[in-house]
C-alpha cells in the first residue's frame, strides 16, 4: 500500500517534469522570426523586385522611386487595411495640399504587397491616376521586413537619389518643413 503511494508520487512528479521539459524544448527549438528593422534616414531604399500596375513594367523599388529625379512619397499599403481603403478616397486631396506646402515636386507612389491582381481590384473604381501604383514582385514578407513595415500605411519620404529621409507610420504626412528642406 505504502509502496504504491510512493510510486504514484514519483510518477506524478515525472510526468510534470516531462511536460515542463517538452514545453521548454518546443519553445526554445522554434526559431524566432527576426525582429523588424527598416531603412534609417539616409539609407538607400532596398532593391526589391516590383512591378508597376500600368503595364506591369518590372524593376526594383529603388529604380522606380528614384527614377524620376524628384522626391517621392512612398506609401506602403495593404489591400486589406481599413485605413488604406479610406485612403483611396481621401488621400490624394490631402497629399496635394501637403505637396503644395512643400514647394517642390513630390511624386506619390503606393506599394502593395499583395500582388498585381489584388492591387488592380483594390484601385479599380477610384481616381488614382496621378499615383504610381506598384506591387511587390518577390516575397511580400521579405519586402515588409526590408522596409520595416510594422503596420500599414507606412510612409517614407525618399529623396531624388533614392535615399529614405523620413518615415511615418499611419495616415499622416512628414512635416512639410522637413520635406521642403529635402525636396526643394
Amino acid at each position: 500500500m505504502m509502496g504504491g503511494r510512493v510510486l504514484t508520487g514519483r510518477w506524478v512528479l515525472a510526468v510534470l517534469a516531462l511536460t515542463l521539459g517538452v514545453q521548454i524544448v518546443i519553445r526554445e527549438g522554434r526559431p524566432a522570426p527576426p525582429l523588424p528593422g527598416g531603412p534609417y534616414a539616409g539609407d538607400l531604399l532596398p532593391e526589391l523586385p516590383v512591378g508597376m500596375l500600368d503595364g506591369g513594367h518590372r524593376s526594383t523599388l529603388r529604380e522606380v522611386v528614384s527614377g524620376s529625379g524628384t522626391c517621392s512619397l512612398l506609401a506602403v499599403i495593404s489591400t486589406s487595411c481599413g485605413v488604406c481603403a479610406r485612403m483611396r478616397v481621401t488621400w490624394l486631396d490631402r497629399f496635394n495640399a501637403w505637396a503644395d506646402s512643400v514647394d517642390g515636386v513630390v511624386r506619390p507612389v503606393w506599394l502593395a504587397g499583395e500582388g498585381e491582381a489584388s492591387l488592380e481590384r483594390f484601385t479599380r473604381d477610384f481616381d488614382l491616376a496621378s499615383i504610381d501604383l506598384v506591387f511587390t514582385a518577390g516575397s511580400p514578407r521579405q519586402a515588409g521586413r526590408e522596409l520595416g513595415v510594422i503596420g500599414t500605411p507606412t510612409l517614407y519620404l525618399v529623396d531624388a537619389q533614392g535615399r529614405v529621409r523620413s518615415g511615418v507610420l499611419g495616415d499622416q504626412f512628414p512635416p512639410a518643413d522637413i520635406a521642403r528642406s529635402i525636396c526643394e
Partner: protein, 416 residues
C-alpha cells in the same frame, strides 16, 4: 513512506500548487460582491447591415432617431413607430466613427476623432455647421468626448477618447476639459490632467465621459470610476471641483502599466505603446436628467493570446480582458439605483434619451431597451427589429450642405 517517496509526494504537491497558483494569478479576484443583476426589457433592435454599421445615435423630434454610419458618416433617420428608414445624407467630411450627441433645441452635435472634427447638425434644416476644435498643446487639434451645455456651449475632453496620446517631457500642464462657446471660441478650462508618469499613462488615465445637469458640468473617469461634479459654469471664478465621488469597486485594480517598443527608423508613429490595465468601467454616459449610466467591467482574466510580432516586441504576451459586463445606473446624488444584465452580454458604448430608452451599441448593432429608472416609456415603437439597409459609401448622392449663415471656421480668431 521512504524519504524519496515523501520527497516525490511533496514535490508533486508543490508543483501542482505552483501550477494552480499560476492559473489563479491570471484572474483578478473580487474585493466586493457584485450587485444582483435584473433583466432589461428589449424594445427593439437596429441591426447593422453589410453596407451600414452604426457609430453614433441620437434622438430627434417625435420618437425617431438619427444614426451615423461608421465608415463614411451617412446619417439615417429611423422612424421609431414604423421602423422605416430615410437616408438623410452624408456628412461633408471624410470622417470615420462619427458620434452623435443630443444638442439644444433641434440641433445635434456630430464629432469624430479621425479626423478631428466637430459640427452642429440641425435636424430641422438638415444643414451642418462645423465648429472650431481645440488645439491641444500636446498633439495639436484633437477631439474627444463632449457634453452640450446651455447657451450652446460645448465641453470637450480633448484626450478623453480611446486614442492613446503621448504626454510631453518635461511635463506640460493641460486642462482636462475645455469649454467652447457657440462660435467655437475657447472660453473656459476645467480641471487638469494629472501627471501619472510614463509616456502614455497620463492620457490613458484621463479617459472621461462628460455630461451636464442644468449649468453643472459632470465627468466620470472610466479607469478609476470616479465621478466629479464641477461648480456652476456661470461662477465668476470659473468652474471648480465641488465634489468627487468614487463609484463602487468590485475588485482591486493594479495601477496601469505601459510598455513601449519603438521602431527607430520611423520618426512619426514609430512608438508602439501597450497599456496593461483593468479599468473599472468599459463605458459611461450621462442621461439628460443627470443620472449616470455605466457599463461595468468585471472578471478580468489574463488572455495570453497574442500575435507573433507582439510576442517579439513586448515582454508580456497578451492583455487583461474583462469577461463580464453589466449596466449600472446611478442617481444624480451618486446612489446606485440598480444593476442590469445586458441583453447580449456585452456592449461597446451606450446613449440614453428622455423618452425612456437606452441605446446599447453591441456587436449586432443597437439594442434599444426600456430605461428601468425612467418614469415612463414615451416611445415604445411598433417594430421589433429593423436592419439598417442603407448605403454608407463615399459616393452617396446626398451630401449635407453647410449652413450658409455661418462664417467659415477658418475666419475665427486663434485659440486663447
Amino acid at each position: 513512506m521512504t524519504n524519496s517517496g515523501r520527497l516525490g509526494a511533496w514535490g508533486s504537491g508543490f508543483a501542482a500548487f505552483l501550477l494552480l497558483g499560476a492559473c489563479e494569478s491570471a484572474k483578478i479576484p473580487d474585493s466586493a460582491p457584485p450587485p444582483r443583476q435584473l433583466p432589461l426589457e428589449v424594445i427593439a433592435t437596429l441591426e447593422d447591415s453589410e453596407s451600414f454599421s452604426v457609430s453614433g445615435i441620437a434622438p430627434v423630434q417625435g420618437c425617431s432617431v438619427w444614426v451615423a454610419g461608421s465608415a463614411w458618416g451617412l446619417i439615417v433617420e429611423v422612424d421609431f413607430m414604423t421602423g422605416s428608414l430615410r437616408e438623410v445624407g452624408r456628412l461633408p467630411v471624410w470622417a470615420s466613427g462619427v458620434r452623435l450627441e443630443r444638442g439644444d433645441s433641434t440641433d445635434l452635435v456630430a464629432w469624430s476623432v479621425s479626423p478631428p472634427w466637430l459640427a452642429r447638425l440641425s435636424t430641422r434644416t438638415e444643414r451642418v455647421q462645423p465648429l472650431r476644435i481645440p488645439v491641444h498643446p500636446w498633439i495639436g487639434r484633437t477631439m474627444g468626448p463632449l457634453a452640450v451645455l446651455s447657451s450652446s456651449r460645448v465641453a470637450i475632453a480633448p484626450i478623453g477618447s480611446q486614442q492613446i496620446v503621448r504626454s510631453p517631457r518635461p511635463w506640460t500642464e493641460v486642462p482636462l476639459i475645455r469649454i467652447q462657446d457657440a462660435a467655437g471660441r475657447w472660453v473656459e478650462s476645467v480641471g487638469h490632467v494629472e501627471d501619472r508618469g510614463g509616456d502614455y499613462l497620463s492620457a490613458y488615465q484621463a479617459r472621461v465621459r462628460l455630461g451636464s445637469r442644468g449649468d453643472t458640468l459632470l465627468s466620470v473617469n472610466l479607469v478609476d470610476a470616479v465621478v466629479t461634479v464641477f461648480s456652476s459654469l456661470s461662477d465668476p471664478g470659473g468652474p471648480a471641483v465641488i465634489r468627487s465621488v468614487s463609484l463602487p469597486r468590485y475588485f482591486s485594480a493594479s495601477p496601469p502599466q505601459e510598455e513601449i517598443w519603438r521602431a527607430d527608423w520611423l520618426q512619426i508613429g514609430g512608438a508602439r505603446p501597450r497599456i496593461y490595465a483593468t479599468p473599472h468601467l468599459a463605458e459611461a454616459t450621462f442621461g439628460p436628467e443627470g443620472r449616470l449610466y455605466v457599463l461595468r467591467n468585471h472578471g478580468f482574466r489574463w488572455n495570453s493570446d497574442d500575435t507573433t510580432l507582439s510576442r517579439q516586441l513586448y515582454t508580456r504576451a497578451g492583455r487583461w480582458e474583462s469577461t463580464e459586463q453589466w449596466l449600472e445606473i446611478f442617481s444624480v446624488e451618486g446612489a446606485l439605483l440598480g444593476a442590469y444584465a445586458l441583453p447580449n452580454g456585452r456592449a461597446f458604448w451606450l446613449r440614453v434619451d428622455d423618452a425612456g430608452r437606452i441605446f446599447l451599441r453591441d456587436e449586432k448593432g443597437i439594442t434599444i431597451v426600456r430605461n428601468p429608472v425612467a418614469s415612463a416609456l414615451r416611445c415604445g415603437g411598433e417594430f421589433r427589429a429593423v436592419t439598417l439597409d442603407a448605403s454608407d459609401s463615399p459616393d452617396h448622392p446626398t451630401v449635407l450642405s453647410l449652413n450658409p449663415a455661418v462664417e467659415p471656421v477658418v475666419a475665427l480668431p486663434p485659440d486663447v
